[in-house]
């Protein structure tokens, strides 16, 4: 079933006369994961933010984005807020900035549940505790309050990002848009987030738009792939097909660069043999 259909999405900065994203089209089905890769500044974030009405500043958005019969572009802000709370979650790179430094993690998670789900105080606190458990920040039998009562600066970037993932997933959206959620993280935290996303796809059929320049992670998650450059889609297709047989020179360059960089690691790990 088609969940989201984007057609001819274009974002322009009228003041500077620049086009930030041009004629972007793609569709997303139930359960599907669409990976977006491309150099920084190529319009990946702008595209996703445009869908959710989250662009800052004076930018002109044209084109169409249909979500279950409703048009997202130019949708009334109130309805968009509902969509974001109940149907499409956004997860960003910088979890540190997503939390307010003056409130505890628990208070902020609970507040989100009260707003988005209309939960009562106690129920919302329970939901917040479940978030912390679901992303492995409190082992079974361990008191999640230990994490919930902390302020953002008392947790590492990786732990905050895991809280964000847990929250995004607990809201059980139909679509999760993850904008470079693992770029700043060590491999353990990165893996935890990636596996959580996979689990939710399995369990709820959630669809995912996953933006990253970590090609390894994208290859692991994505069914289909968009390659962006300078505001345009330069290549798209089945992820495995694009990774195996890239058609465009730019895609080949991206893939070869990362292969070269990971080569030493790949050899060390595979030659070392006994890796169980």
């Amino acid at each position: 079933m088609e969940l989201l259909k984007v057609e001819g999405l274009t974002v322009r900065d009228e003041e500077k006369g620049e086009t930030l994203a041009e004629n972007i089209s793609f569709s997303l089905s139930n359960h599907e994961c669409l990976g977006i890769i491309g150099e920084s500044g190529s319009g990946k974030s702008v595209t996703c933010r445009a869908l959710l009405g989250l662009l800052q500043g004076k930018l002109a958005v044209t084109g169409s984005a249909a979500f279950g019969g409703e048009e997202l572009i130019k949708m009334a802000p109130q309805r968009l807020r509902e969509i974001r709370a109940q149907h499409i979650s956004l997860m960003m790179q910088d979890a540190m900035n997503a939390f307010d430094p003056l409130y505890t993690i628990g208070a902020q998670l609970a507040e989100t549940f009260r707003e988005a789900r209309g939960m009562k105080r106690r129920e919302a606190w329970e939901a917040a505790a479940a978030v912390v458990r679901s992303v492995g920040l409190a082992a079974p039998g361990e008191d999640p309050a230990r994490v919930l009562k902390k302020y953002p600066h008392q947790l590492s970037g990786g732990m905050l990002q895991r809280c964000m993932t847990g929250l995004a997933l607990a809201l059980k959206p139909e679509i999760l848009i993850a904008d470079e959620p693992t770029t700043a993280l060590d491999s353990i935290n990165q893996r935890a987030i990636v596996e959580n996303i996979r689990r939710l796809r399995r369990e709820t059929g959630m669809a995912v738009i996953f933006i990253s320049h970590d090609l390894g992670v994208v290859k692991y998650l994505a069914d289909r792939l968009l390659v962006m450059r300078r505001g345009r889609i330069v290549e798209s297709g089945e992820a495995s097909e694009v990774f195996e047989h890239p058609q465009e020179e730019y895609t080949r360059y991206l893939i070869e660069s990362r292969r070269r960089m990971s080569g030493q690691f790949r050899r060390a790990v595979s030659e070392g043999g006994a890796h169980d």
């Binding site: 700043a184 993280l185 060590d186 491999s187 992670v217 290859k219 030493q264 690691f265 790990v269 070392g272």
Partner: protein
Amino acid sequence: MIEIRNVKKSYRGSWLSGKAGKEVLRGVSLTIPEGGCTGLVGGSGSGKSTLARLLLGLERPDAGEILIEGVELRKWRKEHPGKMSVVFQDYTASVNPRYTVEQILLEAVTAQTGTGGRGRKDENTDLTEQARSLLRDVNLPEHLLGHYPHELSGGQLQRVCIARAVAANPKILVLDEAISSLDVTVQEQVLELLAGLRKKYSMTYLFIAHDLQAVASICGDIYFLHQGVIEEHCACRDLSRVRSSYARSLLDSVIIF
């Protein structure tokens, strides 16, 4: 050779910010061979940048010692001013936005007056020529000399920071997440550039990053730092044989491309 011996560092808590006191480095020892490139990996908050600041002499350890060529750090720094340099992750914050690229580079050269900055052998050497040669070192076109930081891409600006770091002909270069905010393709170029510069100028690197694949591509050996403790040290080619549970799970979690 750099020898870090049983170094400890705590930060005091503050009731104002609600921060609790914390022992960030709990007895860290690490050795970097002359001319080597040693990697330091660990999760965020593990103490990597704190160790970098101690090595750079920006802060002092509570206990333990740091020796360079067998000499205590502070003494060595006095005897070799400008011979240790650093590149940080946040390149936009580390340059003066009102300086042109040329001014940024020359500030580093002239700050070392009389101490043998690279290309300063001849007092009459045209300063602009020095800036040009630094730009060539990092594969940037000369016309960028007149540009301001905001007119450069992230990759270009980070190269300027690298050029500035090597301007004073350092022996030791500390790279703290120097490539972490760059694109994949740019990361690969910058890693190659750094490897080339190290050979050309016989520098010693401490390369800090959270991306194990990047570290493995440039370093000879790797230290694994976890919650202020070195959990393991191994040569890159022996990476698959790490034993400590932290290094093991870091390694096993990598999603290889």
